[in-house]
Subunit: 337 residues, 4 copies
């Protein structure tokens, strides 16, 4: 259910409606928009009875939302959600393109700095690397853990790039929330509802990757879990889905991007690194969507092309932080649409 | 890597090999078989160097396993794993058919006892109900929690059926391990590796459901996560996969059963309740595989047919506990192959 | 659109309604049922205007069918369609189980007779072999063509079994219609609409295999193409669909069977030979659904089990023709549900 | 099998090797390249025995090709195949971008000319419209047939654009070959091997659309069927595959493009018109891949963006014919990569 406030409703009126909602045993989610505030209502006990809110001061209308997702929907918030980061012009979901790049896993301080230097110089504003790796096999290297997080924090200090890294359970989420700027929830945990709720109580934005066989609605519902706990800074991420096709590991589903943009105010980024699996497919797929694991000079070429194509569609890439000079090992990038 | 001991190797020799393995920084997993013991070796640091173990007393050969899964494999353990339960003839994976039935979610003591009475009388040895429900929507009833577990424990006391119920995070797993007889890991958490590791340290058997788009190898690797922590009592469960087909919610993949049986010693059960989604498909699909959400009299008819078909293929259904008389609401059953 | 005649409507009245329909530029498809006749109306020019038929003698009601398929639907014909064959008790879609078996391709007269003798002795009433093989590669043996058809006609003469074989284009369909008893349309041609129309003008029943990624509705529409040309003897055949799963070539979708039975009067058979791809999965999958490529003694064992399971669900296997004794090479069977 | 001729081999030597191959009962497919000629060998009877060809004059080496496709492969022909059209600079597979656009079905002369005028003015060099429409339902408009082909021929006369249209069986293929410039084989007929062989004997290029669940190898094998009959002018076309995802009708698999380009010399075009199904997804998906059903002004905007993006990746769009001024109804475009 959704309460749409009048354009001139006062903050006091908004607060009063929220209190009324909470007093009835529900949760209120005020979402201020450019012209008016909408208040999402969530809770397990079914719908609030007709008439309880309609008559309150400042209320324009009460809408019964038929879609299973509410806070995710453009019905609740018409304007695009733009994730901002203190002390920088870089955003996710804004007019400027967000470039996210880094190594698959943080393996050492040296490797992290080499890659970070390279991608920063090429224009990335976000550095992503794995400290906790959800591996198919229990016998594969599972990441450096907190030590990896500390290295990424140093990368931020040196280059100014914001840090994105994955949390795989409550314990690692506590640490990721402490060290990083964006908490990533991986595809395998997209319906780990307990983890989503914990992410919803975090104070940092969440980058939520689409599950390997998640429908659009399930993807939205996973974001709804995070938002229903009060964290509205969610970035959706398409990373390829599982199909019969065997020429790539996953089939990147680019048509999700306009579908998300039509129905939701949340930003959507594309991560082509799992959708291709082979370097020779990276540059073309990245031009279409984002980027992938590349050699440093391939990454530079790609960034040059992306810059020019961004201009064609009226967008640009703004720099972040300072720019030292180093050479990188292997780079896994993504790009916000 | 796998150490195959000689047929006449002593327990002492087995223990010595295990100690050697652990001293090298690996984990040893002794799996006693009918004629000989095999010792699986797991660990992140790569393979043990050739020659370290070959010469030890009682060792027949050291095999380098190329498959990514080890403990799951028939290479490590030729005989079927049979999960036994103290004080009862009921097994999972044995010659007798294991019948698992119960409501989707525990909603009240009354509902649980009504269903339990019915399915028990019809021949079910395992009672399954949800206390923690992983719901697509945060606004749907999420289960009764510990209160639901307590009700199921009472069901066990009254009917003698063993209790199976799902854990969705570390916290609920602690409680499920305490109250239930089998810990279920749901499809959405099949690659929640942190939860799998916790289940691997539990003292109760684990029923692991196949993820919605998990390949056979990924399914095995998820079981390997549990076993690599020392819990070898894992039951695999096919519950349908996601396909383009839209006439059912999921497509039940029965061909997984013989594939699992060829490659692994672990028992496999089939849960048709998600694979069909509609009552009118339940009886035929259940005859082929197991059962689904049914009205009580449908369940009785089905059990009669299953009993007769089991006899055709040389199996039977053994009773468990005492048999009071009650009438059930709605029943979600599964059956072990 | 569908005209339901009154229970006591005369043949004359039915004929008059059909003539009226045809005079309006549509096609009439009278389908006599146990208690009344329904007349399906098909044609490209949209719906007949309200009132044109309602008032005619013998008409009970005129129904606007919202589903895209009409002749396939139980709305048009409530009773199951049973395909009968002159001079034999064997049917497809009747109470008795139809057993279809034979080699993948007819390779020689000797091979055909060896397999035919074996499967006939074990109880098969239908012999299926390929004379025209739709091969993925142009460089693979494409079948014996008309010579293969002649061999199968001899098999019929000798054993009494009815012949099923695939047509791949108009030319081969002419020949298959001449020599065989049932015309098979393969999965790859399920939406070869030109071929479907030709099959709809044939005088023999058509066994239509589900396309590798066909939805239930598309499958029905393909049958509708055949029926709309006047051939109402269509047998649907589930043979597995394409999914991400890689442990079998195709995923057999047994849940299609009850779905078809609910919505359509057409018989549905299951062909597990593509759904598994490996002999060791054949016996279990065949017990659940039908059969596959088996060694002769495996086929015999299976038939014995199928006979007993059929009895449990109230069905039986009736013999056909005489029974010589021979030994078979390799057998690809299917079974009607 | 593949015979690689020496760089300086004479035409006479090539001819002699071909004759030798044919005399052994196989087919020879000479494929002249920039520096040398390769001769593909196809036929049903297995491999030619070692030594039969190695010693002939001008032969450099005889390669046993392990891949199931031969003529499609870059092993046989290293250089990209470029489809050229007499009297125009427009190509498919060349450096310049090929723009293919037109209505879904030809409905009238007026509609065809309106759309043609618009897309021609915007830069399309190929006009595509359906005269034979493979419809899921037998009751849907199936196309204007030969009359539609005649209208498209007039479009070519007036605008100079080359005509692409679908053939659905042998009969329509005869007519399409007569009237059009490129013969389209639709997704539903990708494994209609009889039709593929007929297309392989046609004198016009063939645009082959990927089947709804075709793997890359199956797609290549379908092209191989055409080429094995002697028609080497095949254009592959990605149009989306069937997956569980329900937010679009099909999932456009753009990663196929670099995969095809790596393994095959054949040109690949992308047709996003089925991959999205909704106008609001067209412009973004088209920028990534090609285009879709659009309003005229949307098409113009898109062409402007495509022109600029083409320039970024070093390609351009060359005009074709003269340019009258008209306004279009609805446009379904595709673009060659």
């Amino acid at each position: 259910m959704l309460v749409v406030m009048q354009a001139h409703a006062t903050e006091e009126q908004v607060r009063a409606v929220c209190q009324k909602i909470e007093s009835l045993g529900y949760r209120a989610h005020p979402m201020p928009g450019a012209t008016r505030t909408a208040i999402g209502i969530t809770g397990n006990q079914g719908e609030i009875e007709q008439g309880a809110l309609d008559e309150m001061a400042g209320v324009q209308e009460v809408i019964r939302v038929s879609k299973p997702y509410k806070l995710v929907s453009r019905d609740v918030k018409e304007e695009n959600t733009v994730i901002r980061f203190a002390g920088t012009a870089a955003t996710i979901g804004g007019k400027n393109l967000a470039i996210i790049a880094g190594p698959c896993a943080i393996e050492s301080r040296e490797q992290a700095f080499a890659v970070a230097g390279h991608v920063h110089r090429a224009g990335a504003q976000f550095f992503r690397g794995g400290a906790y790796k959800p591996r198919t096999s229990p016998y594969t290297f599972q990441g450096m853990g907190e030590e990896g997080l500390r290295i990424m924090a140093e990368v931020r200090d040196q280059f100014g790039m914001k840090i994105i890294t994955e949390a795989i359970d409550h314990e690692s989420l506590d640490l990721v929330e402490h060290y990083a700027d964006v908490i990533q929830i991986g595809a395998r945990n997209m319906q780990n509802f307990s983890l989503l709720k914990r992410a919803g109580r975090a104070k940092k934005p969440v980058l939520l990757k689409r599950g390997m066989s998640a429908t659009l609605e399930e993807f939205f519902m996973a974001a709804e879990y995070i938002m229903s706990e009060g964290n509205y800074n969610v970035v959706l991420c398409e990373r390829g889905v599982r199909t019969f096709a065997d020429h790539t590991r996953n089939t990147l589903d680019l048509s999700l991007v306009p579908a998300v943009q039509r129905l939701s105010h949340l930003p959507i980024v594309v991560d082509p690194s799992h959708g291709t699996g082979k370097r020779n497919k990276v540059t073309p797929m990245s031009r279409a969507s984002g980027m992938q694991s590349l050699y440093p000079e391939q990454f530079d070429d790609l960034m040059m092309q992306v810059r020019q194509i961004a201009a064609v569609v009226g967008r640009e890439i703004v720099p972040i932080g300072s720019a030292p000079k180093r050479s990188a090992a292997e780079i896994v990038p993504a790009v916000a649409r």
